[in-house]
């Protein structure tokens, strides 16, 4: 029997060990005291990041695939793992001051965040369905608990219950889809499923389609596309804001990474069957997500609906699967992760004494008291709109080009029109920040150094990708190539 090659799992193992250490720190910290959770979490994530870079720079390609491993370390996995670890690093930085401001600093918070990262790292590297399911659940179960981590707040508890119920419900659909594909192909490996389901004349084709449909439902819940989005606004609004930032950035990257793997490689031969379905989901997400965002009075909720619409933009590119779309999707995810961390992170960095800005009115006059933060927020919103010189513009350009290239021009047209609509609600935030007076002289907290660092990195990524996209595009291209 072959020795198992653990190298593809090294980043995840490092993060998991760190999570256990942080939990133990909490246990030994004593009552009412806090251990050094943040430095330990940051060190663990940085070590995992280094491990990822080292695996990527070693010349061995496709590690793990030849040993029958469940995880693979190809360019796609390594690139998305690096992105996820970057997201986690920034999320830990943002959390440290937010948790102090909301009086909920606990070691478990960081441990759960790290466990969730373990799941995400697995999710982008899976080559077969068992690990897909396990990784997805590791990520989700930790996130359910994180959403409810503000035990004094009933909104936080409510969001946890809602996320838990919809999450478990969607997992069951995903599993049933896996069962159908397993029944037809006799294997849980993506490669073998792919070769088993090729012929459309197969008498089991109905079973295959049922499986693909159920998988799409399961993933639809995770990426929050219409009509499986109803949990997202509630959960994004109720969860602690740094958790929302981490969730909006990390889960999207991980879930789309897994989606690319399952639909881009495993089920690529069935593309003609699932493409129309994905196109329909994309149109509904783009239209309904943007229209619902127009009507919101809470900024968090508005951003949640905007994330629904962005899932739609990403799905619009997925119809061009596998080659062109993967590149566009991967590139878009990097900028989008930075933007999500930035917008929610900016809100969280203003928290003081358990209060934080929620509605548009709360942000009124922000440019006077926090000029730098308001400017950074504006950069993120501009990127969400897709205005040139931001990551969002370049990203959307590639997404819609991919859709047009696959012969789905109407999708691109809907996407562009809806981006115009979205300018209304994004600019509303800018108008409140710059052109309205603060209702009361109630200054939000000054932004802490750690939050400022995280936000500065996000701004740099967003502007960097917008002005000089070539570097990351080349990496995204290499990652997309490894899918084939």
């Amino acid at each position: 029997m072959n020795a198992v090659d653990l190298r593809p799992a090294y980043p995840a193992i490092i993060v998991a060990v760190t999570a256990v250490v942080v939990l133990l720190l909490q246990a030994f910290a004593g009552k009412g005291k806090h251990g050094p959770y943040v430095p330990f979490s940051l060190a663990g994530l940085a070590a995992a990041f280094l491990a990822t870079v080292m695996i990527a720079s070693s010349q061995e390609r496709g590690l793990g695939s030849h040993t029958g491993g469940a995880l693979v370390a190809d360019e796609l996995a390594l690139f998305l793992e690096a992105v996820i670890l970057g997201v986690a690093l920034l999320a830990v930085l943002l959390s440290s001051s937010y948790l102090r401001a909301t009086n909920s600093e606990r070691g478990e918070h960081y441990a759960l965040l790290l466990f969730s990262v373990v799941g995400m790292l697995g999710l982008v590297a899976v080559t077969e369905m068992i690990s897909l399911f396990v990784a997805l659940e590791i990520m989700s179960v930790a996130l359910y608990a994180l959403c409810g981590s503000r035990r004094d707040q009933v909104e936080s508890q409510e969001s946890a219950v809602k996320y838990f119920i919809t999450g478990a419900f969607s997992s069951a659909f995903l599993l049933f889809g896996i069962a159908m594909l397993y029944g037809v192909s006799g294997s849980t490996s993506l490669g073998r499923i792919g070769s088993a389901v090729t012929s459309a004349s197969d008498p089991n084709h109905g079973l295959v389609l049922l499986g693909v449909g159920l998988l799409l439902v399961g993933f639809g819940f995770k990426i929050a596309c219409v009509p499986f989005h109803m949990w997202a606004p509630d959960v994004y609004e109720g969860a602690p804001t740094t958790v929302t930032a981490f969730m909006a950035a990390g889960v999207k990257v991980a879930a789309f990474g897994a989606l690319l793997r399952v639909f881009g490689t495993g089920l690529a031969s069935l593309a003609d069957d699932w493409r129309p379905l994905v196109a329909i989901l994309a149109v509904f997400s783009m239209v309904l997500g943007n229209l619902a965002a127009l009507a919101q009075s809470s900024v968090k909720r508005m951003l949640a609906y905007s994330s629904v619409s962005h899932a739609g933009y990403l799905l619009a590119a997925l119809v061009a699967a596998p080659r062109v779309s993967a590149e566009a999707v991967i590139f878009y995810l990097v900028g989008y992760a930075a933007v999500n961390l930035g917008t929610f992170g900016a809100l969280s960095s203003l928290a003081r004494d358990g209060r934080e800005p929620v509605t548009f009115d709360h942000l009124s006059g922000l440019s006077r008291r926090h000029p730098v933060l308001a400017a950074a927020f504006t950069v993120f919103l501009i990127s969400l709109m897709g205005v040139p010189v931001s990551a969002g513009f370049v990203g959307k350009f590639y997404l819609f080009t991919a859709a047009v290239g696959a012969g789905y021009t109407p999708l691109a047209i809907v996407g562009v029109l809806m981006s115009v609509v979205s300018a209304y609600y994004y600019l509303r935030v800018v108008v409140h920040m710059y052109m309205k007076d603060a209702p009361v002289e109630d200054a939000w907290a000054p932004v802490s150094t750690t939050s400022a660092l995280a936000l500065a990195v996000s701004v740099l990524v967003v502007l960097g990708l917008g002005i000089w996209p070539a570097g990351v595009l080349a990496l995204a291209h290499a990652a997309a190539q490894s899918l084939l």
């Binding site: 608990a145 809602k162 049933f176 606004p233």
Partner: protein
């Protein structure tokens, strides 16, 4: 003794899954809804075991172990969340969880 045909087990699995889905939509108590989700997971387990037996491959049965383990972990976290919710409110009715709405 005659073996149970593949189709019968699959139809049972589909039925159980359907009952679970209906329950999630029709029942309003969080605990009952959670039990319905468990029913869906077990319906999937039945499908995996059935396929595994029919195909003579063991992957399916291995997956069932993972599903059971994950379901247990999920139950632990889920019930903890429900208890935390219960501390804030006396009801476990899903319709009463309406703070977050527009």
């Amino acid at each position: 003794m005659t073996a149970i045909p593949l189709q019968h087990a699959l139809i049972l699995s589909l039925l159980l899954f359907g009952i679970g889905v209906l329950g999630v939509f029709l029942r309003r108590n969080v605990i009952t809804v959670f039990m319905c989700i468990e029913l869906m997971l077990n319906a999937v387990n039945l499908a995996f075991v059935t396929f595994s037996r029919a195909l003579g491959a063991f992957d399916g049965q291995i997956l069932v172990f993972f599903v059971m383990t994950v379901a247990a972990a999920e139950a632990a976290v889920g019930l903890a969340i429900v208890i935390a919710m219960q501390r804030h409110r006396d009801s476990l009715d899903l319709d009463s969880f309406n703070l977050l709405k527009w």
